[in-house]
Amino acid sequence: MNVISCASLTKRFGSTVAVDGLDLEVAAGQVYGFLGPNGAGKTTTIRMLLGLITPTEGRIELLGRRLPDPRAVARTGSMIEEPAFYPWLTGRRNLEVAAATGGGRDPAEVGRVLGLAGLTDVAARKVNAYSQGMRQRLGIAAAMLGRPPLLILDEPTNGLDPSGIREIRGLLGDLTADGSTVFLSSHLLAEVEQVCDRVAVVVRGRLVDEGAPATLGAIRRRVKVGVDPADAGAARRLLSRWPVQEMNGEFLVEHDNGRDVNGVLAAGGVIAERVTVEQPRLEDRFLEITTREDAHAVIAES
């Protein structure tokens, strides 16, 4: 079952197209990464999902309900960009207010999310005395109030130290283990790579790639081969059956199997000094996709 389903979702602000015909399907129980460079339309999409702004065109279904439907939005926990609070209230009071706004009545729920976010000790402090990291945790705690089946988090690890980031990573894992779905926008691609089951990349408001983090983009696993300089010519000839680049005296072969590459070299009488398989990181894939899309856009515009 899809908890988020968008079809041809479009948002225009005057002549600017912020989101352009976005189709998105997020299945239940996943941690779904939503990536894109600044200004790609991520936050606009999230605001449309939460009913804060109205799409110009297209359809959104959230938790099986077609928006605009406040009931679907009310069952969604969310944190948009930098979390905002009432600075004259304590952390606990802010959460109580948030819970009451959503109709929550369980007094133990605030204590539970404070504990999960590691804020129990500072819950009685006013929020204006909180650090950026504490505010971020409080935002995540607020999003978790009432055990929502869907969490939409925009940059949840902003301002957190490495141990805080690790805790949030664990928390996201726990949430999906409980059956929640997490829709996550983040610039920390290493984090996204570790926690997300699927990732979508948007550029200039359009969905340009979607899938498991390891399958995104055109970059695949590459085989790095080092040979004796005297064998470089022969190696170049033998490896030409694949796309290949030479870099610092080594060959980067666009193929995912090191054994194949080594076999071809050996059959041709070249002994490889080093054969290593490189797994491209999500960051490499992301940059490849966004650079390619930018280039396409420039060509289209010209």
Partner: protein, 301 residues
């Protein structure tokens, strides 16, 4: 809805609201004290024309006697107004006029406009997406803050006003302590409705302004414009300020002012109380429609 109201009321527990309430209560105390002192001074030295200073003519004796009688009557009226039964008129008049408007302006700026300034509006709307409910809750809580302040002022003056009147040496009112209470309660009731109108205008202003200062400015500007219009003979009758004037039936004040409104409304603009009530209701409905229309727009803070 009750849960949402509880949340909105919890947000009102803030220095801005306490401070505004204290300021209004302090202002009412100052006005009462100033009015009582002025009445006492006038009683001690009534306004006598200078030609009668050294004259002992019958005409002057008559003028001097009339001045003393007038000052005594004014002092007695002030003393009566300062009694617990009557002081509600002062409180109602203050809160249903410019001081009450300023209170609502300040509270609405922080409580409603501040949701945009602090960017908490997006959290609020992502928890309660029914925007008409949010508007209703904001209006009711701004209104209730105004009413609560009025009740505090009333309580403060119920105790302090008779003490002030006695301490400055005003002649004691002959009426019973609680005489005029029914009339005071009626005035307070009418002021509650006017505060509801101010809150409705402020709620609508918040949806247009989407910021603390701008909400304050637009609410104050709209009502001050209404007061200015009320002073124009040809169109003044159609101004919301004239509706308030008619509904509250503000009259001329003595030494202890009972409103800061009637002096802005052109004489001859007086409508009946029912017309005033109808006008207030119509203005509130227009404010609600504006708020609903404006609040349906995208929230992109």
């Amino acid at each position: 809805m009750l849960s949402l109201l509880r949340a909105e009321l919890a947000k009102l527990v803030r220095p801005l609201v306490w401070g505004s309430g204290l300021a209004i209560s302090g202002f009412c105390l100052l006005i009462t004290s100033g009015g009582a002192n002025n009445a006492r001074s006038a009683l001690a030295s009534p306004k006598i024309p200078s030609v009668c200073d050294a004259s002992v003519t019958a005409q002057c004796r008559h003028v001097i006697a009339a001045a003393h009688a007038s000052a005594r009557a004014a002092a007695l009226a002030t003393s009566s107004l300062a009694q617990p039964g009557e002081i509600g008129h002062v409180v109602a008049g203050m809160l249903a006029s410019v001081p009450g408007l300023l209170l609502i302006v300040l509270i609405a700026g922080g409580h409603w406009g501040g949701e945009w300034g602090l960017r908490t509006i997006r959290q609020l709307l992502s928890r309660e997406g029914r925007r008409s409910r949010v508007l209703t809750a904001k209006w009711l809580t701004i209104w209730s803050a105004g009413v609560a302040t009025m009740l505090c002022c009333w309580l403060v003056l119920l105790i302090a006003a008779p003490l002030i009147a006695a301490s400055v040496g005003l002649p004691s009112a002959h009426a019973a302590l609680w005489a005029g209470l029914a009339s005071s309660v009626s005035a307070i009731g009418r002021a509650v409705l006017v505060l509801g109108l101010f809150a409705a205008v402020a709620t609508a202003a918040g949806t247009i302004a989407r910021g603390q200062l701008a909400t304050t400015a637009i609410t104050a500007g709209a009502m001050l414009l209404a007061l200015l219009l009320a002073g124009i003979a040809s169109i003044g009758r159609l101004s919301p300020a004239s509706f308030v004037q008619a509904w509250m039936n503000f009259g001329a004040s003595g030494y202890l002012p009972t409103n800061f409104w009637s002096r802005f409304v052109a004489s001859g603009q007086q409508l009946g109380q029912v017309a005033g009530l109808t006008g207030i209701a119509a203005t509130a409905v227009i404010a609600a429609l504006i708020a609903r229309w404006r609040f349906a727009a995208d929230v992109s803070v």
